[in-house]
Amino acid sequence: MSVMKLNVIDLEKSEYTGGKSSLCPGCGHDQISKIIIQAAWENGISPEGIAKMSGIGCSSKTPAYFLGKSHGFNTVHGRMPSVTTGASMANKSLSFIAVSGDGDTASIGIGQFIHAIRRNLDMVYIIENNGVYGLTKGQYSATVEKGSKKKKGTMNEQPPIDLCAMAINLGCSFVARSFSGSKKQLTALIRAAMGHRGMAVIDVISPCVTFANNDESYKSYNYVKENDEVLHMLDYIPHFTPIEEVDIPEGEYDDIQMFDGSTLRLETVGDDHDPSDAVSALSAIHHAEKENKHVTGLLYYDDSMQTADEELGLTETPLSALSEAELRPSEAELASINAAFRGA
């Protein structure tokens, strides 16, 4: 009998899987789903405490393919952030893991994306970014780079919207970029994002094998592999692993503490990047863009911001769990309101 591997809350990985994917074989999005499953399992989060959120698109279908033991909501195109906002207000104890596409986020949903960041909604917001609208058969999205070309059609001439640069400018508390093919880096980032309190945006380049995986597409597998500028090597140390027991890296490194007590360890490769410095993050993005490269890793991090529910001063109990006695003021209170109106 083989021994099943269990996580820290004694669950098998199968407790974190979902239904069978109906995406094109090889689609980057499926890689990301696998990594989400892995990250949630390794972090030992209870699946019932997770809420999966998405908009519309191939990417937004994926909540059906991971975390089958969690409730989820596949909402409407571009408007997942508002549904998440309402749900988070009603039950702030839920851990929100949201998936969106580049069309979903950078075009139709750009307003809601911006405002969810402004409110520092407590959620993990993963953009599965392929530069095209996969589900509607491959039109360019607003994140496609100038000079990039998809399989069919002409080269894109318009400048891209860089969602990470935008998030940093908006003061997002956790901003990272990664690649669906970088399993180790992405796993560490998603695990850290789950341990973060506040809005964690991870823009994941996720090739669309059907419409934009040709070498002239800057978001194809081959192109990204060759043009990935890694900011640092990442290691994630969960809160339940004593950090003393983790091997100390040979070179320089920085440890970043997450809200849940876990640590994201950034090991320096090449130039040192300080994720608390927004200007240096923006400059790294800018330089990479000029050279048609992708800069990946933890770009920006700020743990000092209030989350939306903190700012509103919500009561401790999730609002959806309050009793009638807590929700309906008394008859005496209504009587005194009536009396006040009467001028008594």
Binding site: A64, H71, G72, Q112, L312, L319, R328, R342
Partner: protein
């Protein structure tokens, strides 16, 4: 000055029209006139006809005093107050002979109506004497004094109304009281000849007070346990949200001092609707309020909530459309949009209050219906009901505990439902059970795409048809559980008038006008959609039924025509009219008479 012996005295039966410019503080003066009469027990109503502008454009305030309880703006003004130079000539020209004119002499425009008794006062100059900086605001208080003198309004009632208006602001109370007093004295000393109109104190119901419909809905929703308010400002709904925000800290603090309702000013109405649905999905009571343009934006989400079966409450305080329309005027032009909002086949529950008491009641009940039927419930109000002040004898405490609907919160509850599936009609009423995120109980991915009884994606034709048929059955089943119509029935069942919402404020007068022609008229006020079976009964019992509403196309008429048995249709006639002004009884009564004549 003595009232002339020979003059016929007309007490508590007249209309005052006060013409001012927006943003000049006239609203305070107008409300003091209204409230002081109300304090004397005079049945009054006040309508604010204001522009879409912060300062400078013309505004009219219409006060109707009527012992018969008529609340519609009268067909004509008996007393005209002129303060605004921009509308001066036109207002004057429109007056009937004999209308009393009170005017601010300092506007320096002629009052060339010899056929109208006219009374001038240097209001601005006198106000400057009290405080030059505040003269523009305070000059309005002089017409309050003038009206107090001409109509015999009690000093005590004036002071009482003034104190209510400037709650605790001693300085303002003192200055304005002085201005009103000066106005009264000036009128006494300088104006010759009286006017026929006067107010006479009546036994006031000591419980009665005036309140705006929006504030009533706001309080109702707080007593309904609202957990999340998302909103995007739009006239005439903003004051509903602002009222909730104002009352929440007093009424809804948690044990630890934290808030039990989250308030979010959304980035737009799309987001506001999304937040309502998110809150409802997670087990909270979410609500937003808006007006027609906001509903248009929310439509996609409304369809999602209908199909994925998520509770939520949306209040539409109707203003005049289409498009930006007349944004500060009133209409019932959104009814059919609400009833079938969103693409595909949809149908929504719409609660239609016609009084401020019902605004409060439906404010809390809306949540119960939303959770019971797992769908969006609309509250349908309008600018007239929402932003004008109406009388109530006091709000009634909810007479039933909260209905949280078919939510399974524990494993035992889940196990007790045989053959549970998120969208399975276990009880035969079309309403399935649900579990909440975070519970770990039978998790499902909610979606706007086709789904089977277990919530699993499906494009199967039979599954799709079964789902939409059940949804239809579910909402249809709400009919007789929603508020029944209010029926006032004559013995001779000749003419029936079906109406709804704020038409309530004009119906008594319309009814009296029709009956004065010898007709026997019964009325039926519809208070919810889908309409109650008693509405059909009412139509069956009357030879001819008029559907009366404040829109162009006869929207309720259209809904009735679509859903009533065909044999009843020949009895049904539409009278629909809209011009932005709250319904004047004469206009609507004449239109009804025309239709009756044509179809005689």
């Amino acid at each position: 000055m003595e009232k002339q012996e020979t003059m016929e005295r007309i007490c508590n039966d007249f209309t005052i029209n006060i013409a001012t410019a927006n943003g000049t503080g006239s609203q305070s003066a107008n409300l003091i006139v209204l409230n002081s009469m109300f304090q004397m027990g005079v049945p009054v109503s006040g309508k604010n006809l204001f522009p879409s502008n912060i300062s400078g454009l013309p505004t009219w305030f219409i006060i109707r005093a009527s012992d018969r309880g008529y609340q519609a703006p009268g067909d004509k003004a008996h007393i005209q107050v002129l303060m605004n130079k921009d509308t001066w000539q036109k207002d004057l020209a429109g007056l009937e002979s004999g209308t009393v004119v009170i005017y601010n002499e300092d506007v320096k425009l002629p009052v060339d109506r010899d056929d109208c008794p006219s009374f001038g006062m240097p209001m601005t100059k006198m106000a400057r004497g009290i405080n030059p900086k505040l003269a523009r605001l305070m000059c309005n208080m002089y017409y309050v004094g003038a009206l107090a003198h001409l109509l015999d309004i009690d000093d005590a009632a004036i002071s009482n109304a003034l104190e209510r208006q400037f709650k605790g602001k001693e300085k303002a109370i003192e200055l304005n009281l002085r201005a009103i007093g000066e106005g009264r004295t000036y009128a006494e000393e300088n104006w010759e000849g009286g006017i026929p109109y006067c107010v006479e104190a009546r036994d006031k119901n000591p419980d009665a007070f005036l309140v705006e419909g929006n504030e009533a809905v706001a309080l109702g929703s707080i007593f309904g346990g609202i957990n999340m308010l998302s909103w995007y400002p739009i006239t005439p709904s903003s004051s509903l949200a602002e009222s909730i925000i104002e009352w929440l800290p007093k009424l809804r603090e948690g044990d630890d001092g934290g808030a039990t309702c989250a308030v979010i000013q959304a980035e737009d109405e799309l987001a506001a609707a999304g937040m309502v649905i998110g809150a409802g999905w997670a087990g909270g009571r979410g609500m937003t309020c808006t007006s027609g343009p906001g509903i248009s934006l929310m439509s996609e989400f409304i369809g999602l909530a209908y199909f994925a079966e998520v509770p939520g409450v949306i209040w539409d305080v109707n203003r005049v459309g289409p498009s930006t329309g007349l944004p500060t005027r009133t209409q019932q032009g959104d009814l059919s949009m609400l009833y079938e909002a969103s693409h595909g086949d949809t149908q929504h529950i719409v609660l239609i209050p016609g009084t401020v008491d019902e605004c409060f009641e439906y404010g809390w009940r809306a949540f119960d219906y939303a959770e019971r039927f797992q769908t969006i419930v609309f509250g349908f109000s309008d600018l007239d009901l929402g932003m004008n002040r109406w009388s109530t004898a006091g709000f009634q405490y909810p007479d039933s505990p909260m209905d949280r609907g078919k939510v399974l919160r524990t494993q035992d509850e889940l196990d007790a439902v045989a053959n549970y599936g998120r969208y399975r009609d276990v009880d035969g009423d079309g309403i399935p059970y649900r579990t909440l995120p975070g519970s770990g109980l039978d998790p499902v991915l909610y979606r706007g795409t086709g789904h089977d009884e277990d919530g699993v994606y499906s494009e199967d034709p039979d599954v799709y048809y079964a789902t939409v048929s059940r949804l239809r059955r579910k909402i249809d089943g709400a009919r007789d559980l929603l508020p029944a119509p209010v029926v006032r029935e004559e013995e001779e069942q000749q003419i029936g008038v079906i109406y709804y919402g704020s038409v309530e404020n004009s119906i008594t007068e319309i009814d009296d006008m029709l009956e004065s022609t010898g007709l026997s008229v019964s009325t039926c006020r519809v208070r919810a959609l889908p309409y109650h079976s008693e509405v059909e009964g009412f139509i069956e019992r009357h030879d001819k039924v008029i559907v009366l509403e404040i829109n162009r196309d006869g929207q309720l008429y259209g809904i009735l025509r679509k859903e009533l048995p065909v044999d009843l249709l020949p009895r049904l006639h539409s009278v629909a009219y809209t011009d932005g002004i709250p319904p004047r009884a004469r206009v609507y009564a004449d239109k009804i008479l025309e239709v009756l004549e044509v179809t005689a």
